[in-house]
Symmetry: C3
Subunit: 281 residues, 3 copies
């Protein structure tokens, strides 16, 4: 933790940090302490640490939703949802970005967590397996890679270390892809899936509002063995009490919502559930 | 997000942020990313994000309790508890402060959330409706005003943009007032209300300790259909096990407390409940 | 809050903050506002604020686990788990550190919370009781020492005020010791105790892996009236479904773990429970 190159240019002064570490334990604080020791000029911003333990799908989705905002400034994105920690899954850093503009580097396990986020910002330019233990913290056991491998890598990148020094370059096509479910249209219906239930109980689907353009209100939502009637609305407050709305949410996708109540609780619908939308009869 | 005026003076380098966004989702992180993109010199401090969803009363009270500390340095206060997001409720920025000293600017929905906090720091000098969309982020839907309207406004204010540029000036008297319940004295009793139950189960009332000066211990607490006996105490540790105390809390109000246990749980009393205090018989 | 000495050297620009304040209320935000007012150059990092209310043992353990990382940079460590707030328990600042290297100052109640952390970084050099109320915030009641006593002390130390100015120097040997349970070996068994259950349900014991070197796998775990068979493993992913592992955790202690499931939930074992390990029959 002492090899910070004082003379190097500092390509990043922001690390965005997402994990399933929660806030009950000291994990997040310790990771920040390691970053501060290596790259004291860096501000670490929390994306969220309340991803359900080991839920790489939820982590990947939260990261993908956030990326266009996190990358408004040149940033390193540190993401750790890592059920395979200490196993032979690779620890990686991925330099991503289109031809124009500065690169973003994403640091985390190669388990699909980073894939959608990398795609969101233009795809991978270079990737490295974090095998150079000159840039690891010594540790008694292999179970806290966030502290011992990922945080030092993120911090050294901010301090000016080149990606290629952190380990062996790997072909980006060998990175594990993310598996984001696509909706499809069939017989005038749209078959989708719940991507996310947010704190307010809004239920985001993997459905584009344009896919519903040819259907007239009211619409039928079919999930599990239930069918409920819904109407399109511009915002939550446009809904009458108890009325189920389909709102174009802040990410441009269709969300099922109620006014000031949790649609997820009311409908007993969960992340990953299949939802079909069709014209109501 | 690119129109930061590099040459402008920077009137604020601190944004205090309170919301009901919770920490499970990426909302808070994304808001901070937007602020950092517009005003990279700013430190964002979290007041709390665990206000119950849509609970503007609880948000207003937390903000009012915090204001005298948040304004120890020149600050923009960003507060978002916004059940009417996207409706015709106004989005506002309010410049507040007495004649002396620097102003504080509060940014949030015009739904009563900001009113007590504005009063706490000397009242409103100027207010603006955030209608100038040059200072909004483009967004697919209107449901995340924290990200698209309020955060950019707070950040541009920190970067030196004048309040008046953010939209139409509005008369501060048209801002929605907060509704803070007042206690009253009647027939030698004090009739109050629970303002807040804190994490430790202490129960803050809207009652000034001076209003109890003419009563002798022990006192009777009457709430719901229950009556319990309480004594005044200087601090929690002065209470015997199981003894109910009335403590002058850190905000100068009367709080019902137990030593090392939750008074709220023990007494089954909640925010908003009516409480009468009188001399015990 | 105005007596910051602009000309003084600034010995610390980092405060690490641990408490049982939770994140539901505004306590943590207000403490940070006080620090920022006194020492605006300081970055406050959160260790955790979700220590169970009044649980000084859990707070002391979290602090001890974190210290070697928090002190990678010169820091003030602010720790507040303080059931005796306002009573005659002392409020202290303890300068700690071995002969080499810079000191760390720990600020908090003298109730055992700081003791193990002080020992971790080389023991106490000097200690002071925070009795000089020139460095306190005036407050209506004594129940929020984090805001009124501890935060100002931490901030003034960062701003260059010497420890000795904050109150009366006290002999470090009079500081309340922490009570960390030691494991022991007896008749070929190791008798230990659960120190910590982390978010993932891993169960950290106060047992050194070396103490198990003379035993062959499988091992028997005895706790309550239960006996379960366990095997040593290098990491979680090495365990078969349902297999109970003993892993050397990231702090060098023996942890009971399952792969991708909570060992604590599965075994119904809690912090503070006694656990005996012996060779399975």
């Amino acid at each position: 933790v002492t090899d910070q190159q004082a003379g190097e240019p500092k390509p990043f002064d922001t690390v965005w940090f997402l994990s399933d570490y929660g806030l009950e334990d000291e994990f997040v604080g310790v990771v920040k302490a390691v970053i501060r020791a290596i790259a004291p000029h860096v501000t670490v911003g929390d994306v969220t640490h309340q991803i359900a333990p080991h839920d790489t799908r939820a982590g990947a989705l939260a990261l993908a939703r956030s990326m266009q905002y996190l990358t408004l400034v040149p940033s390193v994105v540190l993401a750790v949802v890592d059920p395979g920690v200490g196993s032979d899954r690779r620890a990686v850093a991925v330099e991503a970005g289109g031809d124009e503009g500065p690169a973003t580097v994403l640091v985390g396990p190669d388990n699909g967590l980073l894939a959608s986020a990398v795609a969101m910002v233009g795809g991978a330019r270079r990737a490295v397996s974090l095998t150079n233990d000159d840039y690891h913290l010594p540790a008694p056991g292999p179970t806290f890679a966030g502290r011992d491998v990922f945080a030092p890598a993120a911090a050294h990148l901010c301090a000016g270390v080149d990606l290629a020094e952190l380990g062996e370059l790997v072909d980006p096509v060998t990175l594990l892809p993310g598996i984001l479910p696509l909706s499809r249209q069939e017989d005038g219906e749209v078959l989708g899936e719940v991507l996310w239930v947010d704190r307010f109980g809004n239920v985001q689907l993997n459905i584009d509002p344009d896919d519903l353009l040819l259907m007239d209100d009211p619409l039928a939502l079919v999930f599990g063995d239930k069918t409920r009637t819904a109407v399109r609305a511009r915002t939550y407050a446009d809904l009458r009490t108890g009325q189920i709305g389909l709102v174009t949410d802040s990410y441009g996708l269709v969300s099922i919502a109620l006014d000031r109540r949790s649609a997820a609780e009311e409908l007993r619908i969960h992340s990953g559930d299949a939802v079909t939308i069709r014209a109501a009869e």
